[in-house]
């Protein structure tokens, strides 16, 4: 093909035998004989599970295969784990299986994958579990290294799950990245509690030796799990946590005398001692509980754990979990750090308001002090309607706009903007009406000297209009930045240049339609073209308002300062959540009140 294409540069694959490369892939998963157990097909399973609609095969490993299914009656997605048939043949197995499954089902924790049901259908044992719609940690790791803050966030969630399970008397025994699953919102859950023990007790060789996936398990096994599997307790999980933490930080599993994590990835050196203690051969020398380890970790690296809650990194996990940028994790999705609110743009507009206010007050003062001349011959009604009200309205409008813009941090940014906008608009309309009627209200017809200066109302009008345009622009930017969930699209754009080289020339020109589709990023570009300061602060403002969405995602969501509502003592607002892409009632708090412990 390449020869017919002079533009295409020759690639390594052109020199290789492509057919035999494909053979490599076929060798990876031989269709039958090499797998230790027969994989039941969708059609085999359908009659066994009449209440479920069996969908895709999600994967298979040492302990059977997992299918995605829909429980038709409840209309929810579940994962059905089918254990190898060989296990069910063992008579003692079903009793042990029931015991373990009950223990698993007893675990009720946000970071533990729920077990809904278990049983035996025909000759297969099965577990029905919560379906996690994201990737697993192994896939996340394969996609690229995670920054320390995220690593600790994920790790913390795993620890919480384990601590809970240990207190319930359940030991996991098979902690590995493959068993840490994510939802699309970035929530991590631990799966497959107790399955390893089940496999080991039943003497099932399948689980530990015969498949590629299961081989990884050996890396996480504590020494006592090798030597005397019967006496293993929760401290074996702590050993595995140590390995996991090391791998999360450095991307490799510690073997033999391994270099400290800090020397490989620049993590805080204090974390090394935590890892070392967790990896002690003698269980008595390790941390004796998971919480002890977490406490040591947060004492050693205090800043990092808090940082983990930062929503910028959180968004990235969400993206990865949702398969958005799988090949390469986007370098932390940092938006441009917005400047403090009081810089250029705002100052300019507040000063203008102040000037208008002063000028109007001056005009008003002039008119009133020279009253006998200026207002002669006008009826009282006209005086009030045409002179007093409009003048004061302009003055009050300008002053309020000034106050709102200057001290708007005290008020919700959008509301203050809206109010200022409305007042300003009203002032503009009145001024236009007055000027067009040739009304003397703001001109100073009465005084000979000032007649020459009746340019004042036009000046005022021009300034007001300018300010109106600016305010309107701010509102538009404000709305567009957040009504359009631009997180994915704009972040994707920014990371594009850092993509792999072969992708770069693949799609040099993005389709024009795709470009224009992305209004938000277009807007961002326009904002950049504007004089510095205009629009920069807007994003920062609304970012300072966070909300907890009821869909479970924890992040800053767009707060229009909308309808307020109180239910069961909780202040709720009707808001838009870009994560679940819908409007709804959300609990809203200011950034500084945002709960530090997300879990």
């Amino acid at each position: 093909m390449s020869d017919s294409n002079p533009n295409e540069p020759t690639h390594l694959v052109d020199k290789l035998n492509q057919a035999s490369l494909l053979d490599l892939a076929l060798d990876q998963e031989p269709a039958g004989p090499r797998r230790a157990y027969a994989l039941p097909s969708q059609s085999d399973l359908a009659p066994l599970f009449p209440d479920f609609e069996i969908q895709d095969l999600l994967g298979f490993g040492g302990m059977g295969c997992v299918y995605k299914a829909r429980q038709t009656r409840l209309d929810r997605a579940v994962a059905i784990k089918i254990l190898p048939k060989e296990l069910a043949k063992d008579e003692l197995f079903s009793e042990r299986f029931a015991r373990e499954a009950r223990a698993m089902a007893r675990l009720n924790h946000p970071n533990v994958v729920r077990v809904y049901d278990f049983g035996q259908a025909g000759d297969v044992c099965f577990l029905i579990m919560e379906y996690m719609d994201g990737m697993n940690l192994r896939e996340l790791l394969n996609a690229g290294s995670l920054p320390a803050s995220e690593v600790l966030r994920v790790f913390e969630q795993v620890c919480l799950a384990l601590d809970y399970a240990h207190r319930e008397g359940v030991v996991h025994r098979d902690i590995k990245p493959e068993n840490i699953l994510f939802s699309k919102t970035g929530h991590a859950s631990l799966a497959d509690f107790g399955l390893a023990r089940l496999a080991m007790d039943s003497g099932c060789e399948v689980s530990l030796t015969q498949t590629r996936q299961a081989m990884g398990t050996l890396n996480y096994m504590a020494p006592e799990q090798w030597e005397n599997p019967k006496t293993v307790d929760h401290r074996a999980d702590i050993y595995a946590l140590g390995i996991l933490l090391y791998e999360l930080l450095t991307g490799r599993v510690p073997r033999g005398s391994f270099p400290p994590a800090s020397s490989l990835c620049g993590s805080p050196p204090a974390i090394d001692s935590v890892i070392n203690k967790a990896l002690q051969v003698d269980p008595a020398l390790r941390y004796q509980s998971v919480m002890e380890m977490v406490q040591a970790l947060s004492a050693e690296a205090p800043g990092v754990t808090n940082e983990a809650i930062h929503f910028g990194t959180f968004t990235r996990i969400v993206n990865l979990g949702g398969l958005v940028s799988r090949p390469k994790p986007a370098p932390v999705a940092k938006r441009k750090v917005a400047r403090p609110i009081d810089e250029k743009g705002t100052i300019r507009s507040t000063n203008m308001s102040l000037f208008i206010a002063c000028a109007t007050c001056f005009g008003l003062f002039m008119t009133w002090t020279i009253e006998p001349v200026g207002l002669d011959g006008m009826s009282l009604a006209i005086q009030v309607e045409d002179v007093v009200v409009p003048n004061w309205l302009v003055a009050v409008g300008a002053v309020t706009t000034f106050i709102l813009l200057r001290w708007r941090e005290a008020v919700h940014p959008f509301r203050s903007l809206l109010f200022a906008n409305a007042l300003n608009f009203a002032s503009v309309i009145h001024l236009i009406a007055l000027v067009s009627r040739g009304c003397p209200a703001v001109s100073t017809d009465g005084l000979q000297v000032l007649t020459k200066l009746n340019v004042i109302p036009y000046l005022l009008l021009a300034m007001l209009v300018l300010q109106q345009i600016e305010l309107a622009w701010r509102m538009i930017v404000f709305i567009f930045f957040f009504l359009i969930p631009s997180d994915n699209s704009s972040d994707m754009k920014k990371t594009k240049p850092s993509r792999a080289p072969e992708e770069k020339d693949d799609l040099e020109k993005k389709p024009a339609a795709a470009k224009s589709r992305d209004t938000a990023s277009l807007l961002q570009k326009v904002v950049k073209l504007l004089p510095a300061g205009l629009g920069d602060d807007i994003e920062a403002e609304s970012r300072s308002w966070h909300a907890r969405c009821r869909c479970g995602c924890e992040r800053s969501i767009w707060d229009l300062g909308g309808i307020r509502y109180k239910a069961a003592g909780e202040p709720l607002r009707f808001l838009y959540c870009p994560d679940c892409n819908k409007l709804g009632w959300h609990r809203v708090v200011r950034k500084d009140e945002f709960p530090k412990d997300v879990v």
Binding site: H11, V13, L16, L22, A25, L507
Partner: protein, 230 residues
């Protein structure tokens, strides 16, 4: 243990009402397999810059979701779907240009009308498409492998890359001295590299087929195409 749905499944599920996510997945897939499409269009269009434009337009339409309703059940893989829609697209485009020509009386001699319908010509073009597809697929996998080996092992990769297809590395003993490894260790390293490449190919293929069980079938199909060419 729970794997995410493949990109292609995601797109098909959201065919009726595309979500932001499915659109991104589509964009990603299109970016990967742009080359085979471009080459396919190039073969049917006289001027090559026009092929570029047409490809651009085609993908724009595809990503917008205008063509997604054609992703029906019997066209399993993304590859066959793409081939199907690009052919339809070219036919539509030709009709449009013809209409334009009649309407405006201008000469738009652009699409090679004959070859679109000619059965033998189109069969070979399809073949070419599949070949280019396989090449893109392998190219991506090898690149990913190379990226994985970009740390301390880059020398290893550079030395052994020509043997990825199973050819014996030339001058094994000399190689061993150069790398400072025993011949056995080199064999193991090569084996690991090849195994990983196999996994990567599977991962690439997985994104374009409806479910995990179709991966083998898709690879066999591509392999057959490669063999026929030789």
């Amino acid at each position: 243990m729970v794997f995410p749905t493949t990109r292609w499944t995601l797109i098909r599920q959201a065919a009726a009402s595309p979500t932001e996510e499915s659109r991104t997945a589509m964009e990603e897939l299109c970016r990967r397999y742009r080359t085979p499409v471009l080459q396919f269009i190039r073969r049917r269009v006289v001027q090559s810059e026009q092929a570029e434009d047409l490809t651009q337009e085609f993908f724009a339409k595809l990503i917008r979701g205008d063509l997604l309703h054609r992703a029906d059940q019997n066209r399993g893989q993304f590859r066959s779907f793409l081939l199907h829609v690009v052919r339809q697209f070219l036919l539509d485009e030709r009709d449009r240009l013809m209409a334009l020509k009649r309407g405006a009386g201008q000469i738009h001699q652009s699409l090679d009308e004959g070859s679109v319908e000619e059965p033998s010509g189109s069969a070979s073009a399809e073949n070419e498409f599949d070949l280019a597809w396989a090449r893109t697929l392998l190219q991506r996998s090898v690149d990913r492998l190379q990226r994985e080996y970009s740390d301390q092992r880059s020398v290893l990769f550079e030395t052994l890359k020509d043997s990825l297809d199973g050819a014996k590395p030339a001058a094994g003993a000399e190689l061993a001295i150069r790398l400072g490894m025993s011949e056995g260790a080199i064999r193991v390293a090569l084996h690991r590299m090849r195994t990983r490449l196999g996994q990567l190919i599977r991962e690439e293929v997985a994104d374009t087929v409806p479910s995990g069980s179709d991966i083998d079938e898709e690879i066999r199909l591509l392999r057959k195409t490669l063999e026929q060419r030789r």
